[in-house]
Amino acid sequence: MRVESLTGPVILSLIIATVFQLIPTSGVWIFWRPNFLLLVVIAWILYIPDRFGIGFAAMVGLLADTLFRTTLGHYVLVFAVCGTIAYLLSRWLMYLSMFHRAILIFIITICAELIQAMLFSIWDVPFALNYSPTVAAFAALSWPIVDLLISRVQVRRP
């Protein structure tokens, strides 16, 4: 497969994830919404680790920083750490069922929340960790859709 052929699906997946991330919500949904950009990044790294790695995760993290108006570098760090975990686990992907992958996403999201809590504490910004299990649960529940869509693109490769 030519190198450029994945550019379209990657950009499209990032735009869709960004739009889902930006849809205005109210009440507890503000806190419960999973990070769709992170899910998409993990999916690409898990399925095509030879093309997408820690650098890709860091670049999308930079995009997330500009979108979320956080201090530049904040999501770069979060995405890079989560991307590294996904990259290291990608070689065992074929042995993992959808359920196992969802559990993996739950754990990675908890890691992301802990790193964020640590970073926010440095800047003295309050961070309610009690929402983290719910965020991780919603991320795990959303995962099958992301997984199926990205795996479809990946399977179509000649």
Binding site: I15, T18, G27, R69, T71
Partner: protein
């Protein structure tokens, strides 16, 4: 971005170092501000796309409605309008009396505020950063520091202005504080955000201060940024930890910070030179 031979851990360390440097530079300098501004303009279409589902929902609510409901709404609004008109007559009498009393006291006359209606076109996807993007910008006379209201109370202030849109920091953001006073007795304090849409705290309040649960807080006007007298919140709980010098006071914000879509930008008479004159 990285060579294929470089190990994942080495790559991660490089990224962590780069991210740390970025955070330090972005937090302690303004060197990256132009980048933020460019990025905000670039991602604005995405905010517009993200608002489409809500726009469709709103359109559906307006377009698909039965005649009976419309008639009921109309009747209710007519009744409300009558009540409000009655109250307004009383208000104008009170306002005239207030002006007379102020003249007797040789005090400055209260300035009338004019407002500009605006709509929220984006909210910060980060639950810890309480900001909203509105559809008015420099072209409409919006300026940095301008107060923002909803139908219930004070929402926040404008922090960044672009030509066609602006970003406002909400009063519940953890970096925001505003001077308030108790409506009942005028006791002054500072209300701070704690990154929770339903809660703010009062800082440095003495245990002997005359503040009780249920007290209505309004903006005090001190500092000159927010106009005086707009509702900020209601005191919900007062706790004193043993040995603490100050009491912990929680406030429930009056404004529907995570729900309101149509907001008001306030122009006081003092702002006329900054662009509010033609309103």
């Amino acid at each position: 971005m990285f060579g294929k031979t470089s190990s994942p851990i080495r790559q991660l360390l490089t990224v962590v170092l780069a991210a740390g440097s970025l955070m330090v530079v972005d937090s302690y300098t303004t060197w990256l501000s132009p980048l933020h501004k460019v990025a905000d303009n670039v991602v604005r279409p995405l905010y517009w796309i993200a608002n489409i589902p809500e726009g469709i929902q709103d359109w559906g609510k307006i377009s698909v409605i039965s005649r009976g409901v419309l008639e009921q709404d109309n009747l209710r609004m007519q009744q409300e309008s009558l009540i409000h008109l009655g109250q307004l007559q009383r208000m104008s009498e009170l306002a005239a009396e207030n002006v007379r009393l102020r003249q007797l006291l040789n005090a400055t006359e209260l300035l009338m505020d004019s407002v500009l209606v605006t709509e929220v076109i984006g909210v910060s996807p980060n639950p810890r950063g309480h900001t909203v993007t509105i559809d008015r910008g420099r072209d409409d006379g919006v300026y940095v520091g301008q107060p923002l209201l909803d139908a219930e109370g004070l929402m926040g202030q404008i922090t960044t202005v672009y030509s066609g849109h602006s970003i406002a920091l909400l009063i519940t953001d953890s970096t925001h504080a505003l001077p308030v006073q108790v409506l009942r007795n005028g006791v002054r304090s500072i209300a701070e955000g704690v990154s929770d849409f339903n809660r703010m705290t009062l800082r440095f309040v003495s245990p002997t201060a005359d503040i009780i649960e249920g007290d209505q807080l309004v903006s005090s006007g001190l500092g000159g940024l927010f106009p005086v007298g707009y509702p900020v919140g209601v005191v919900t709980s007062i706790k004193q930890k043993p040995g603490a010098i100050f009491v912990d006071i929680d406030v429930d914000p009056s404004a529907q910070l995570d729900r309101s879509r149509h907001l008001l930008l306030v122009f006081t008479t003092g702002d006329l030179g900054r662009g509010g004159s033609d309103r």
